[in-house]
Amino acid sequence: MSRLKILTEHIDKPEITGIEGYIKHGGYRAVEKALKKMQPDEVTEEVKKSGLRGRGGAGFPTGMKWSFIFKGNDKPRYLLCNADESEPGTFKDRLLMEKIPHLLIEGMIASSFALGVKTAYIYIRGEYMYILHILQKAIDEAYAKGYLGENILGTTYSLDLHVHPGGGAYICGEETALIESLEGKRGNPRIKPPFPAVEGLWGCPTIVNNVETICKVPFIINEGGETYANIGIGASTGTKLISACGNINKPGVYEIELGVPVEEFIYSDEYCGGIKGGKQLKALVPGGSSVPILPNRLITKTAKGEPRLMSYESLSDGGFPTGSMLGSGGFIVFDEDQCIVRNTWNFSRFYHHESCGQCSPCREGTGWMEKILHRMEYGHGRMEDIDLLWDVQRKIEGNTICPFGDASAWPVAAAIRHFRDEFEWHVLHPAEATRRNYGMGRSAEPIEQVTA
């Protein structure tokens, strides 16, 4: 069956990258409609009605976030697009910006209009420099066509849009770190409150939205918030880009209607196409490296035995003991030959490397976790290391300035929770552990054969 594609319908058409092709396929209609026929608050109202939730990971309702923007002073307001995509497993925003840059620009114009913003920035990770050039070209085209600049389309609304590169720091995906970075400083997250909606960039009211979130706005304006809300399932409205990777046959970015069963997403040919080499599915990280890993038996079904769906609610069903999170949609699939200890060490090395170092639990704790995990992976672990690791992650979680501390702790906690036998095996069989992998283990007790 053909699925509804809100963002990616035309993405394979080469001409869509340019402004003419984009307009030919219905682009910039939302800007025309919003600027000429709507009031800013009406745009926000439609976004509220749509139930759109932030696509960067936290899933906070976008319309509500917008309504927090402080209007009680004369300071300029800013809209920042968070294009600092760096959560391991996530590579979806890259596709949008590379293939259909004008969608983001159109979304930025309409969103800026709703928020009363006169200058907006797209903060893109520095490694995506080649995409920055694509966006810059698209922005130049939009200026030339009168979609940006003074008196857009003859209206009284004016907007300047700039693209700004990062320099290689995962933490700048945290919105206050992004603001600091855009101010030309180190990407140290700020202490909240004050929240950016009140005091953000240069002390002015600021909204930070993810690329995919912004790209949804044109559809919502064109078709109405209710139409969008009718797509998806429950409070998980609309579509979501899922970037699928790991040991699957068809890695790539898929736009799904929220509510697709996880089993279908992994095994159907429309999406991941099953596990590569016909191997068994061992584990899944459904929402980017920081969300809890799920063992086989909790992937396609929840602990209650209900089918697990690709939605905010279903993926988190069971809480941390038996659930995970949709997060940013970084869908990482592990086959039977993957080592959970090695992967957990790899992730904790990532978090150690990326910690900004500003607050003590994260600065010191991430390094400690990495060292313990490294020791276990390389055959020098001790049984008490498992409890120590559990204790260290618990002392980081919830005690830091920003959610990075949690993000570094959750993968470690979940790996121990579900794969403790594999950690123990590493300790008990250090030599063997360096030669072969543990396999499926107790954590993935056999369930009925899942097929497409």
Binding site: A169, R186, I191, P194, E199, H352, H353, E354, S355, C356, G357, Q358, C359, S360, P361, R363, E364, G365, T366, G367, W368, K371, L388, R394, K395, I396, G398, N399, T400, I401
Partner: protein, 316 residues
């Protein structure tokens, strides 16, 4: 005035007061502070040792806050209820933070000039574990002389950023800062520029540990063998109000006058601190009162302490 209850003690405080300052006003069960410094704008929130539990956010919002909060940067609201040492969760978290602060600290107190007046030493005595569970190599750095008066021993640093705020706010043209990232971050001048400024010596006073020490005092004595006396002189750069630390008739060092939370009352200039170290340079006023908790109080009479009135931060 808004009311706040901390560990079952209720107090009225001016709007905009932080939980930590409200606790300082109560004067009991005050959360420790390693990075917050009331005289430095923007300080606080980083070390996480002052975490407390808010069980009721305000009169309007009876729910508590979902996570522990840093009391030094969280403003009170009318009706707020806070648990500090009455919350096992807080005590546990604080113990955890102290453990993490110590894993890379050299614990070289026997040869550290800060010993006896070190906040980390007090903190680990009060909240730390008896043994360490960290058995990896510790982070080390070479000692660096920052000019003739100050030595930076980065290995001891806990990255509280106080010295950076000091340089930013007391001097024009800050030359030192935080470089690198994560647990490789360090206080540095990068190419070891000399901090050459009339007020640079204050970084020694604000440093909660022995990372920044006074080169003119290094290894001269243990602080608990010295005798603190308030003194003043006419100074055209600062107030000239200092504490002199005597051994016999000899002035071993000069510092700002520190209150019971270890914060100086006023910042002093380098001339007063480093260049006027003869007793005859000063008008000696009398004993500097020292918190009886401090080992420095040993061998000295236990004077009544001056009451500290926390400076109320205005809502930004």
């Amino acid at each position: 005035m808004p009311k706040v209850t901390i560990d079952n003690i209720t107090i009225d405080v001016p709007p905009g007061t932080t939980i930590l300052n409200a606790a300082r006003m109560i004067g009991e069960n005050v959360p420790p502070a390693m990075c917050y410094y009331s005289k430095l704008k923007g300080s606080g929130g980083k070390c996480r040792v002052c975490l407390v539990k808010v069980t009721k956010t305000s009169e309007q919002n009876p729910r508590g806050m979902p996570k522990l909060v840093a009391s030094c940067v969280t403003q009170i609201a009318d009706g707020m209820v806070v648990e500090n040492i009455t919350s096992p969760e807080v005590v546990e978290a604080r113990k955890g933070v102290v453990e993490l602060l110590l894993i890379n600290h050299p614990l070289d107190c026997p040869v550290c000039d800060q010993a006896g007046e070190c906040h980390l030493q007090d903190l680990s005595y009060e909240h730390g574990a008896a043994t360490t569970r960290y058995d990896f190599g510790r982070r080390t750095f070479n000692k660096i002389d920052i000019g003739p008066y100050i030595q930076l021993h980065m290995t001891r640093c806990i990255l509280c950023y106080r010295c950076v705020y000091t340089a930013d706010q007391l001097t024009d043209g800050r030359v030192h800062g935080i470089i690198n990232r994560g647990d490789a971050a360090e206080i540095s001048t990068y190419i070891e520029n000399i901090i050459d400024n009339d007020f640079s010596g204050n970084v020694i006073d604000v440093c909660p540990v022995g990372a920044l020490t006074d080169r003119t005092f290094r290894f001269k004595s243990r602080v608990w063998f010295t005798k603190p006396m308030n003194a003043h002189r006419n100074c055209d750069k600062c107030s000239g109000k200092v504490t002199l630390w005597f051994q016999g008739e000899e002035v071993l060092r000069v510092t700002g006058r520190k209150d019971q939370y270890g914060e100086v009352e006023e910042f002093i200039c380098n001339t007063c601190r480093f260049e006027t170290k003869k007793k005859s340079d000063w008008v000696v006023e009398g004993h500097r009162r020292i918190d009886t908790h401090s080992v420095i109080a040993q061998n000295h009479l236990p004077y009544e302490l001056d009451v500290v009135h926390p400076q109320i931060e205005q809502a930004q």
